[in-house]
Symmetry: C2
Subunit: 385 residues, 2 copies
């Protein structure tokens, strides 16, 4: 087990009707800017609940933060924050809205020239940010309990991450009832997203961290059990609550304590999303099986453990058990309705070279050994054509 | 799953040589009072490491906080804090030292007449406390990542708990190497303590919280695997690190999110410790098997799940599987060298009536249904004579 620091001060307020607690969570007298995306929060009643809860201190609003939130959109909000002097940002929606809001919170007080310089730049981690809170309506990204955000710059098709302790929400309200009306595609995407978040922190090499392994497996097993139920019974509170808590636990830092992490699936997936416009979770469902296959020898011990503990695979020789585990993973994604091949999304085979090229140029260290080469990325993608 | 709020702002600094990070964790210019127990931290080098780390801001010291920390002792420290104006308390040692320090931190700024009035008193939860930090050298109580403390009033033999968000340590340093030299009895006690902390939050009734169940089982499985190794190989870093992280995770609130909790084993055990002077973990090892047996029908579903997932018990009818699960639990404690019968500690059978009587007078709600009667307590204790 490696040395680690764990610090996560987000207050989680979880359960039915928890939006009503907003007045005691928002700082008294705050000048609030509500941030959200499209109209779904207006259709499902969440917007009305928020406005009703804040009727004594009505917030201003900034709408239109899109999936894979764009730098260009966020900068419009930054202008408003600076011009109108908001001192609290309240994000309502899914991970994209919250990620965008985190960027706005940091960019609004950024002292340098272009806030984009904070992205994936260890030298310019946000040193300050406006306080934010959120009402999370889509279990998926885990953004509600971490200090990270992923932003896309439309002009250059760059999709990059930023991370800082200043980006932790002060509070996150999670009411599973707000997820009853999610379209099946978003429900399924959320399950895949949370699943792959766990795998990025788990499927590396044995690191003498038996508790963290089992905590990761706890989430995977629950996602496997509950994910399909959410599609079959969208109004089942217990199922929705379990998935919501899984998504939060998958990326709040806990299962990553003291262990190596991979994140190459995400890095490759981000390029696919930025270039071809597929959903984030779709990109992960394409790449992960290829990552498992191409890294089969380096991830051997963990693949065997994963197969046994998550899928109950105990029969056959090692190679057969690993093949079976990879098959089960891909089948799971497909059973949720998330396709797993580039061709399923009409992405041409030329993507293999283009993505590998872009990643090479980024000089992003890839994989738990930080040594995946262009050739490896090409091989992974070639397995997914 | 019940509604819940989860908030835990403790910064955990975990790993080898982490004590050296003290200077950047303690507030600059703080007037620090070091609190500790007996001489073990002087013998094992921890005291020297702390003093060396703080050499630019040497702390004052208060020694002599005993196991099952006493109100009477803590109040002496409170006098010193008030007289000398310390503004940061740094606890070094195990859960008892930290619990005592939490009480000192709250009592030093308590506005009422007698700080003891805060104990187990929902009307007088500490509304403020001095900031504290800790260097934890004994994995057991989980106090390093929660806002609770248990204090004993020697004069009346009362052992009671207090809980407040003001009692979270600002930071907790966990260096597994500081536990290499623990006596086997303390190592074993720590494993039992952490194990029973999990059971209090897990072994109730099914509560539609599959992730929390599996997170609890993750800790139990790891304790079962790693506990015996710590006794066999006390200098094994990986084992010590795993146990230390298990103890923290067992009582930082996470596995208790949204689920019913029991805590009757602790309540009964506290009386045994206060009256007969046995170790806290010894009292738990005595009571838990009796609790499982006496509550067999009410805890049936969870006992079966526990038997299957923690001990792999799948054969036999329900009653046989449950009996087996209870046996395995008691055997596990005994295998660690922790005896499980009142008679093992020369506690007379008269304890049955005396403890039941005391608990009835306390009017403490007992069990996950908060309805255990005097008769139930007598039955549980009678099973453990």
């Amino acid at each position: 087990m490696d040395n680690f620091t764990y610090y996560n001060p987000v207050k989680i307020v979880f359960g039915r009707r928890s939006i009503a607690q907003l007045p005691r969570l928002v700082p008294a007298g705050a000048k609030i800017l509500l941030t959200y995306g499209g109209g779904s929060i207006k259709r499902n009643g969440v917007y009305d609940q928020v406005v009703a809860a804040l009727k004594k201190n009505p917030p201003a609003e900034f709408a239109g933060i899109e999936p894979n939130p764009r730098y260009e959109t966020c900068m419009k909000a930054v202008e408003r924050v600076r011009a109108e002097g908001f001192d609290f940002l309240l994000a309502i929606g899914g991970g994209s809205v919250l990620d965008g809001t985190k960027f706005i919170a940091a960019a609004s007080v950024y002292k340098g020239k272009d806030p984009w310089d904070m992205m994936f730049n260890p030298a310019r981690v946000p040193a300050d940010a406006l306080p934010i809170g959120c009402v999370m309506t889509l279990p998926a990204t885990g953004s509600e309990m971490n200090g990270g955000a992923v932003i896309t710059r439309e002009a250059t098709k760059d999709k990059l991450a930023v991370r800082s302790s200043h980006l932790f929400p002060r509070f996150s309200i999670l009411d599973p009832e707000t997820t009853f009306t999610l379209p099946p595609r978003q429900t399924a995407n959320g399950v895949v997203d949370a699943f792959v978040h766990v795998m990025e922190q788990y499927l590396t090499y044995p690191a003498d961290a038996p508790l963290q392994d089992r905590q990761a497996e706890a989430i995977l097993l629950t996602l496997v059990e509950e994910g399909p139920k959410a599609l079959a019974e969208p109004w089942n509170y217990v199922v929705r609550a379990s998935l919501m808590w899984c998504a939060t636990q998958a990326l709040n830092g806990l299962i990553g304590c003291g262990v190596p992490q991979d994140w190459a699936t995400h890095a490759i997936g981000h390029e696919l999303t930025a270039l071809y416009g597929i959903d984030h979770a779709q990109s992960l469902a394409i790449i992960l099986p290829g990552m498992m296959q191409q890294q089969i020898d380096r991830k051997r011990a963990k693949l065997l453990q994963y197969g046994e503990r998550v899928w109950g695979i105990r029969d056959g020789d090692e190679d057969a058990r690993i093949d079976h585990a990879i098959e089960r993973t891909e089948e799971f994604f497909r059973s949720l309705g998330v396709a797993t091949r580039l061709s399923d999304y009409d992405i041409p085979a030329s993507a293999v070279g283009i993505v590998a090229e872009r990643l090479e140029k980024r000089r992003v260290p890839l994989g738990e050994h930080q040594d995946l080469a262009k050739k490896d990325v090409e091989e992974i993608l070639s397995l997914r054509v």
